[in-house]
Assembly symmetry: C2
Homo-oligomer: 439 residues x 2
């Protein structure tokens, strides 16, 4: 049973997908049943890295979606529009969609999911998070028996590459970023990566799958690595930690109406050196899922790149082909029934918890005058908010200044902020030079 | 749509499954649709760790399978018989099966799969490998677009616990084993774990899924850790490696008739310290899958235990419930259609490659007389078989003896064996004290 594929976009991922479809030997036999029928590109005259019948190409993306020979639409063009409209158009036509577009899913996932549910079609998104790492399907299909407690991920390869090099070379952020741009690991405009927005898109998607309901993407507290100093990476190392940009979605409670309250955020975070996430280097990604009763499971691999991402896109297509085989010959009336696991049907409301309800461990670096009694005053500010301190270490400062690093135990976010405000007001404290999270 | 569950076995895993079914709150809502209808136990009078209606219990396992209120059979009793017969009985009755029984699946997987395909029911086995780690479903549903090149796994927690302690404490195998038995990490009869049979069962299952066809479980070359000496762990460490019991299934070629030729084996293996598998400690498991175009992805987590294993069992039940929802109302005639991915339908013949077709890197430790020229003679033996040597290091031996460790580059297995035979015949060589693999 051949399935006609319409491809929206023929960049690196699109070309990777076309490459897999053109070489089915040695792959699952369902790959041979996929036929590329139409490809939307921006510019017909651009040279292509693969051998593709020019008659397949068009600049009219809507014509690809509408083509009666196209049974399934693959959206790998990226960007918010026209990607969102084309996905909705495919759904309206009763055609399942596979997309790698994390930005669209993080922002319009609910609209798209509602349209897909109403029309009885699947919209699959394995490639949107973690590149080639199977993480979306396992969250949907392998961990549903658990009460998920926390999802923590290194889900942006660019920042992990930069952090890995800052750690191994003691280099400054700006220098490594420039080098990463030269090598193609960072974009000319690196903001979405280094300021944490890309990781926030992805953790919004993972949280929705792990906890069963959507959260507001725009409300996720997001801090990038663009203000991180080499000395914090160095101090962290001396204290036994690696610094990673972690995206975390934690279950903090259940409201009386059953709404799951989540603490979702993106932060540069100190990870203990023996923690599984501390060993994830370079452009690799890893996602740690903690649940009851499974404990801790981790998914690791290449977080980006044409091959890995195309692997995930075609895996999604195969899942749709597989379930189509199981329902072939079915003559049920009305809207097609969906597998609620594969469709990732929402099953409970979720929302971000108030700052008072969230607890975190913290790393704070203070620049202070180098005089006796400073540590005592800082300690008192934390004590006044009943914040338990794990360690205070004084590092060598410059010219009559001291650098004091404080690690706290778990503290409510609002009390921590109150203590920081009191510390900032001390006359001996010149600056709160850094405030990071720790695991 | 309630699904009646019949449970065969109420040991730690069975009790874990019953515990999840009894507490659906906060889990995927499909869990609430699963109703435990009948439980087969060996001894009705044994006290149970959980609160279960005694009327559910019976010692008649066949009655559980046959009970019309049971829609799906969960086999967690272990052992070959009566487990195999009960699984086949459930299939014959048109009831899907979820099993954690790696021994049965590794030995009778083909018989069971054929019966299941003919009857149109699913037999799911996520819990059979890697405990709570999602690995079976990802191999089936997330990596089918790849040509799998290699699957390498630390898939026996007992041996990994022993090896981790041998490495960190420099302790002898026998001492750590005795301690592991005392702590409950190793069985009173540890043979299946320490001699590699359990890992061989599991790699047979993973190979079948990764490459699409069954291989003969009995033919898998299997070496355990029971003859491993502390000094080899120490030498490996000095050379930059961790020693792990690795189960590997590698694609080495395709015969003219399309049969995939595989190198499948279980061996204590030197893993470079910066390799992702080297950091897997204690009772954890990890499986690394390498494919084109995905690259390297790794799955990590608790490889055993009631909670993790029960998580995987219930995940399988949910998958059956999910696809049942998608096919509900279907009025297709005849044998029910299966999703070929979820059902893991076989798609090509596979067989073990001949020793001449497989290549491996090796670690050899020789006890020799301490005299000049020995290293030259050993080197000549390897040279005569055109084996490229990576390093030869002489360690301090006892009383006029030397210990020489040779690391080879990749060499065909038959030539390596020929060289070892020639070396053993040298009068200066007292013993080939250890022969391990390296990654």
């Amino acid at each position: 049973m051949t399935i006609g594929i319409g491809l929206l976009g023929l960049g690196t991922v699109g070309a990777g997908v076309a490459g897999i479809l053109a070489t089915p030997e040695g792959r699952h036999p369902l790959v041979a049943e996929l036929a590329l029928r139409r490809v939307a590109v921006r510019d017909l005259s651009r040279p292509r890295p693969l051998d593709l019948d020019p008659a397949l190409l068009t600049t009219d993306a809507e014509a690809v979606v509408d083509d009666p020979a196209v049974d399934l639409v693959v959206e790998v063009m990226g960007g918010l529009e026209p990607a969102r409209s084309l996905i909705l158009r495919a759904i309206a036509a009763g055609k399942p969609v596979v997309t790698a577009n994390k930005a669209v899913i993080a922002r319009y996932g609910d609209e798209i999911a509602a349209a897909a549910a109403a029309r009885g079609v699947y919209v699959l998104i394995e490639a949107a998070v973690g590149g080639g790492i199977p993480i979306i399907e396992p969250l949907k299909q392998s961990l549903g028996s658990n009460r998920i407690q926390r999802v923590s991920g290194i889900i942006n390869g660019t920042t992990n590459y930069i952090l890995s090099r800052m750690a191994s070379e003691g280099a400054a952020y700006g220098d490594v970023l420039a080098d990463a741009q030269r090598l193609g690991y960072a974009e000319a405009d690196p903001a979405a990566d280094v300021e944490g927005g890309d990781a926030a898109d992805k953790i919004a998607i993972l949280a929705g799958l792990a906890y069963g309901g959507a959260i507001e993407r725009a409300q996720i507290p997001t801090e990038g690595i663009h203000r991180l100093e080499a000395r914090d990476v160095d101090y962290a190392d001396q204290l036994g930690f690696a610094v990673k940009l972690l995206a975390v979605a934690q279950h903090v409670g259940t409201a009386t109406d059953g709404t799951a309250e989540l603490d979702v955020s993106v932060n540069p975070t100190l990870v203990p050196r023996d923690h599984p996430l501390a060993g994830v280097h370079g452009v690799n990604n890893a996602i740690l899922v903690e649940g009851d009763p499974v404990g801790r499971v981790m998914f690791y691999g290449p977080g980006a790149g044409a091959g890995p991402t195309a692997s995930a896109v075609v895996a999604d297509i195969l899942n749709i082909a597989g379930i189509r085989a199981a329902t072939a010959g079915s003559s049920a009336e009305g809207t097609p029934q969906l597998d609620p696991l594969l469709a990732a049907s929402r099953w409970r409301p979720c929302r971000l918890a108030a700052a008072g309800a969230t607890v975190k461990r913290n790393y704070v670096r203070l620049q202070t005058s180098d005089e006796a009694g400073v540590i005592g005053k800082i300690g008192s500010c934390f004590g006044a908010e009943a914040i338990s301190i794990r360690s205070i270490v004084q590092f060598e400062g410059q010219e009559g200044q001291a650098e004091i690093v404080v690690l706290t135990h778990e503290v409510p976010e609002d009390r921590f902020r109150a203590a920081l405000a009191a510390i900032a007001a001390l006359k001996e404290v010149k600056a709160i030079a850094a405030s990071l999270r720790t695991l």
